[in-house]
């Protein structure tokens, strides 16, 4: 399966940010070459991104990667120095926020504290000069949509964090916006509630067919909620793709290490044969992996900790490593181990919790292996 993936191992050929004219036509939101700096900091460094109609795209990145700035440019709160933002075929780069028809949920919800939930939700409709009866009807519908039916007359301070979140969401979608922006909306919620809200927002978004951009620094959240994920660093998009692509076939070591846990082994291709390559990773060890990079190419090999198996040597010697368990943690659904290999290298291993299977203990010697198809290769620059 890996061998047949298009352009494997070369990030430039991966189905990236859908550049090109045909994609632009089918895209609802198009961002082209957007730049923005604050003082000496280049917050956005030529961002290009296309979002399809009805899609939920997550912008994932560490703090300072420029994701919030990008959101502000889309919403109109910041003006880019270069580049364009197109929404529904119209250039909105310089359009004031009030005319953009974009719904946004702020990190702190930004509910108007002197208005009830109902009045908060009615606000965008009133600003659009809708008739009283129409407003009444739409507000009731929006309250039902976010399951807040009976709480319309409460003030924000009388609502829990999760309920405030729902009001903010209802207020952002009640006027049928052309685009919905969510700026780390679940950051303040506890884990259980956060997970429930993720699924709820996802259901609502799909039901309404709302084109949505979701900002987060939580990679797990990004994988759960999105149609596609765009990983940002240093004001640029490193990779955009469906969650499995991002997790299993990251374009570079930044994406590999930011999304999930990883073992990265650096080396260069020694031999290539029948869709497999042998990679020398120093200390005399060679790895066999699926790939077709020419000999001499400097590559990184990614093996996710759950793709490693604790194994005895009887199955052969390819991709077999021996070492000692350095650290072992029980995390409920699995065990996490840190292993020091005989050559001094360290690997992360995840083992499932199964009846009758004993987890390796600290200090024990251990052998781990992985299948060539479970390794992912990418070029190192």
């Amino acid at each position: 399966m890996h061998a047949s993936a298009p352009g494997r191992g070369n990030p430039r050929e991966l189905p990236l940010a859908d550049r090109g004219p045909s994609d632009r036509a089918s895209s609802w939101l198009v961002i082209e070459g957007v730049r923005k700096h604050y003082g000496a900091v280049q917050a956005l460094n030529g961002v290009a991104l296309a979002v399809r109609s009805g899609e939920l795209l997550t912008i994932l990145g560490p703090s300072g990667s420029g994701k919030t700035t990008l959101l502000k440019v889309i919403a109109g709160f910041e003006m880019p120095e270069a580049g364009n933002v197109l929404l529904g075929g119209e250039d909105i780069t310089t359009m004031p926020p009030a005319r953009r028809n974009i719904g946004m949920v702020f990190q702190n919800y930004a509910l108007f504290p002197h208005m009830t939930a109902r009045e908060n939700i009615a606000f965008p409709l009133e600003m659009r000069g809708k008739a009283r009866t129409e407003i009444e009807r739409d507000v009731v519908r929006a309250l039902d949509l976010v399951a807040l039916g009976g709480l319309g007359d409460r003030f924000p301070r009388q609502l829990s964090g999760g309920q405030q979140q729902r009001v903010a969401l209802a207020r952002a979608i009640v006027f049928s916006p052309q685009l919905l922006l969510l700026d780390e909306p679940f950051g303040a919620l506890d884990r259980k509630l956060r997970e429930a809200m993720q699924l709820e927002v996802r259901r609502l978004q799909q039901r309404l067919g709302l084109t949505t951009i979701f900002i987060t620094h939580d990679q797990e959240e990004a994988l759960v909620i999105s149609d596609r994920v765009a990983v940002m660093r240093g004001g640029a998009i490193e990779q955009a793709g469906r969650p499995p692509e991002i997790y299993e076939r990251p374009a570079n070591s930044f994406v590999a290490e930011f999304v999930g846990e990883s073992n990265l082994l650096l080396g260069s291709v020694a031999t290539r044969r029948d869709g497999y390559v042998e990679i020398a990773i120093g200390d005399g060890t060679e790895i066999l992996a699926a790939g077709d990079e020419p000999a001499g190419t400097r590559v990184a090999v990614l093996v996710r900790p759950e793709r490693l198996r604790a194994s005895d040597a009887a199955e052969g010697t390819a991709n077999l490593f021996r070492g000692r368990v350095l650290e072992s943690v029980y995390v409920g659904n699995s065990h996490k181990h840190r292993i020091r290999l005989d050559g001094g290298r360290e690997l992360l291993l995840r083992t499932p919790v199964l009846a009758g299977q004993r987890a390796p203990a600290v200090g024990e010697s251990i052998a781990v292996r992985f299948a060539p198809e479970d390794a992912h290769l990418f070029r190192q620059e």
Partner: protein
């Protein structure tokens, strides 16, 4: 470990004792101020009230509340206080807004100008206004030289002069509470309103104004109540022709030595102030809760 937990828990007996002791300590710190207020404020006020009752008779209150002359003074006092409050508000709101939205450096410079008058004697400031507003004062000269007027305007010794002088003295008390209310408005609320399609004036009317209403109210109450008891400015800029209640009380004490009547006037003023304060507070609470 267990002891620490017990102290931290308010329900436990030891925790309650520690908490009580802490509160008693804090309360004891306010004793000097309390004593000072009692001796210098509460006692004289009560003494004046006692005098005003004049051995159980209400004749001085009758006089204050029935004779047309005195009712007119009360009316003038409240009217001037209301005008001063309104004028201060209209002038202060934009100033506060400027201070709240400009850079910190400009804001601190602005504050120097706001607070500077408070460090200057009220007497000096009032005389300065007399120089500016007099018949041959700076303002009239400029107006005549520019050809705007051919006769000097009477600014002094009437309500106009009194209001100008009082607004000048009282503006800082309006600017400061409004400024602090504006600073508390979360800027993302303004962005949110903008993003939801509100034009600038609607954001002001529906979001910014209601959210700063508490500050406006505090400033207005402060200025209004200070205005009611104002003495030096109306006495000097009013030149005896604008009689506010404090001026009248001073006359009773100093010129006619009628302490009883002065006490009655002061008590009526105090009562009226308290009634107005409690009424507006009730209204304010309601409007904050209902406003949208």
């Amino acid at each position: 470990m267990a002891a620490v937990q017990e102290i931290g828990r308010p329900g436990s007996r030891r925790g309650a004792r520690v908490e009580r002791r802490r509160q008693a300590l804090i309360a004891s710190l306010s004793v000097p101020a309390l004593v000072l207020l009692l001796v210098l404020f509460a006692f004289p006020v009560l003494r004046l009230m006692e005098l005003s009752l004049d051995a159980g008779s209400l004749q001085w209150y009758q006089k204050a509340l029935s004779e047309n002359l005195y009712l007119q003074v009360f009316w003038a006092t409240f009217r001037i206080a209301a005008i001063v409050t309104l004028a201060s508000f209209l002038l202060s709101y934009p100033v506060a807004y400027l201070l709240a939205t400009t850079s910190d450096a400009w804001a601190s410079l602005g504050f120097v100008f706001i607070v500077l008058p408070l460090w200057t004697s009220i007497l000096v400031r009032t005389y300065a206004w007399m120089v500016l507003l007099g018949r041959n004062g700076v303002l009239n000269r400029i107006l005549i030289d520019l050809g705007v007027m051919d006769q000097p305007i009477a600014f002094l010794y009437n309500e106009v002069g009194v209001v100008i002088g009082m607004v000048h003295v009282l503006m800082p008390y309006m600017v400061l509470p409004i400024y602090s209310a504006m600073k508390r408005v979360d800027p993302t609320l303004i962005q949110a309103a903008e993003g939801l399609g509100a034009p600038g004036w609607r954001i002001f009317q529906r979001i910014f104004l209601p959210l700063t209403a508490q500050g406006i109210y505090a400033g207005c109450v402060l200025v209004f109540i200070l205005s009611l008891g104002f003495f030096i400015t109306p006495a000097l800029l009013g030149g005896g022709r604008v009689v506010m209640i404090a001026v009248l009380i001073e006359q009773q004490v100093r010129e006619t030595l009628n302490w009883e009547f002065a006490g009655a006037l002061a008590t009526v003023l105090l009562a009226a102030t308290l009634v107005i304060y409690s009424l507006t507070r009730g209204l304010m609470r309601q409007s904050v809760e209902e406003s949208a």
